[in-house]
Symmetry: C2
Subunit: 296 residues, 2 copies
DNA sequence: AAAATAGTGTCTTTTAGACAGTATTTA
DNA sequence: TAAATACTGTCTAAAAGACACTATTTT
């Protein structure tokens, strides 16, 4: 082992260093102020293209012959437009918006000046998930409602100056949380489907996280983590629509959600609408979150 | 950083070290000679219990509040017996058997003498998948037909003497490959559903890999990696039955596989049976392996 | 009443699964 | 021909989806 301050010729003998990064998703209105970052570099070829692929973004080295994806399930219509549901915001309740994610501007090389996923090292006394949560708090002031390991990225050339293996988590936060982090320094929210060039392989990572999010929303009940404690079924449907990028039949969606048993009516209704008021629901925590699916 | 030969008081400042491990599955006849290893320690409480849970084995720290599983999909019937299909082996073609996995006996502390998953360090110039494949070859003489990242395990107390983060892969090998490794030193094949106490948290890891395998077999077309180049539909069905631990209707299975388009008839038939000969099929490589599902 | 969304009913298509029936081989 | 497995036909139930319809509120 040639640790610590090894020079270039010694680096090949070093063990890869470990880091944690997190892809954080939130739903935000589309007219956000962070448009600066979008236009400053504009969408590169590496960015997420509109229209979702049926296969996961390639994430593994070529020697991993068969599928780096952990559990490909339902795929998306490749012809779906980016965010059709978002273009007709509801007039009363605020529109749930579309997918955004926070990035941090790098203040040193490599990729100094570019934006990167929040992350950092792993402390000696914290597990991987703890490290992800702590880094999240420290860099973006966010406490996610949902946090799950995404993938370990470890190709040799991920960083130009050293060998880094990144264990990446993905997280969902609700809008009130997300607003808190807007104030944080160096943190910018970018629209997930129109990213600029990010540092390292972080565009690839975001693509993969997006694929996983869209995939999991279709068979699992995680979309409510984008919302607050209570919500209407229309709001929950809008979340699904924003994530999946297509409109969903309200009647069928209602039946699916209610029959899944993952949601409980509070008995209250929303007021102040200019039409029939909707019932307010709450997510049912007692459901085992790992086995929950819309389709059994 | 306090690298290299740090003493105990300095260890808390070291970055976690990285390792690769792999859970390798093969289908083998049940009357194998490795029964020694099974009885020597017998099934501990940590071993895989018969009957499959509907939720994945817990794999994350408690702070990862919501689901460490990467993509929970179809769950299994919790009441299914362990391996009913195996108990009635076909009389002509050799029975596909049941799930076994190779382990390596540790020759140093910690857990000296116990069996552990094959693994090792990551070299400076190889990606994670490459490292998994190389370690596999070196320790067990196996070249898997399927190799995929499973999960990064990184709780603080995984190893008693140091902090280790293991990036675990899972692999499938066909029986002819598996036979080659029987000769390898220190390698023992154990039945996946009756494991002894393994070193580190490797029982937990195997449980999780088993859950993923069973889960993925239900929506993806990976089971053929347990077989050779060509196979009959009955053989393929037996593989599914052995993995899932339940019998499958032959007619319905045939229709599902054929309509999935993942398999092509070679035109040949098996000979030497005492009944109507079956057609021989070959897996269709051109199918995108990540999007393939039995159920759409 | 008009507008607008909430919520229900119902029909069609697709899929999984149960299970009976036919086909083709060897002994 | 009997036995044994390969393969096909067909019915049922469950689920997804399209879409028309009713309900309840404000303006």
């Amino acid at each position: 082992m040639y640790p610590g301050s090894a020079n270039v010729s010694e680096r090949r003998f070093e063990a890869p260093s470990l880091a944690i990064s997190t892809v954080i998703f939130a739903l935000r209105p589309n007219d956000s102020s962070a448009a600066e970052a979008v236009t400053s570099a504009s969408a590169s070829a590496e960015s997420t293209a509109p229209g979702h692929s049926t296969a996961p973004p390639s994430v593994a080295s070529t020697t991993e012959a068969h599928s780096a994806a952990e559990s490909a399930t339902r795929a998306h219509s490749p012809t779906a437009p980016a965010h059709p549901a978002v273009e007709t915001p509801s007039t009363e309740l605020p529109s749930v918006g579309s997918l955004w994610l926070p990035v941090v501007r790098r203040i040193r090389e490599p990729y100094k000046g570019l934006q990167a996923l929040p992350g950092g090292p792993i402390a000696w006394n914290e597990s991987l998930g703890d490290a992800a949560g702590r880094n999240l708090r420290e860099t973006t002031n966010l406490s996610p409602k949902y946090l799950e390991q995404l993938y370990a990225f470890g190709t040799v050339d991920r960083s130009p100056d050293r060998r880094v293996v990144s264990i990446v988590y993905w997280a969902l936060v609700d809008p009130s949380e997300a607003d808190q982090s807007v104030a944080a320094e160096n943190v910018t929210w970018l629209p997930a489907d129109r990213l600029p060039r990010l540092a390292f392989d972080h565009n690839t990572i975001v693509d993969y996280a997006l694929w996983r999010l869209r995939n999991k929303v279709e068979y699992s009940q995680i979309a409510h983590h984008f919302l607050g404690e209570t919500f209407t079924l229309a709001q929950l449907r809008e979340v699904h629509e924003a994530v999946l990028g297509r409109s969903i039949d309200p009647g069928n969606f209602r039946r699916q959600i209610l029959s899944s048993g993952t949601v409980t009516a509070t008995g209250e209704k929303v007021g102040g609408t200019r039409h029939r008021p909707a019932h307010i629901y709450r997510f049912n925590d007692s459901i085992d979150k790992d086995s929950e699916r819309l389709a059994p």
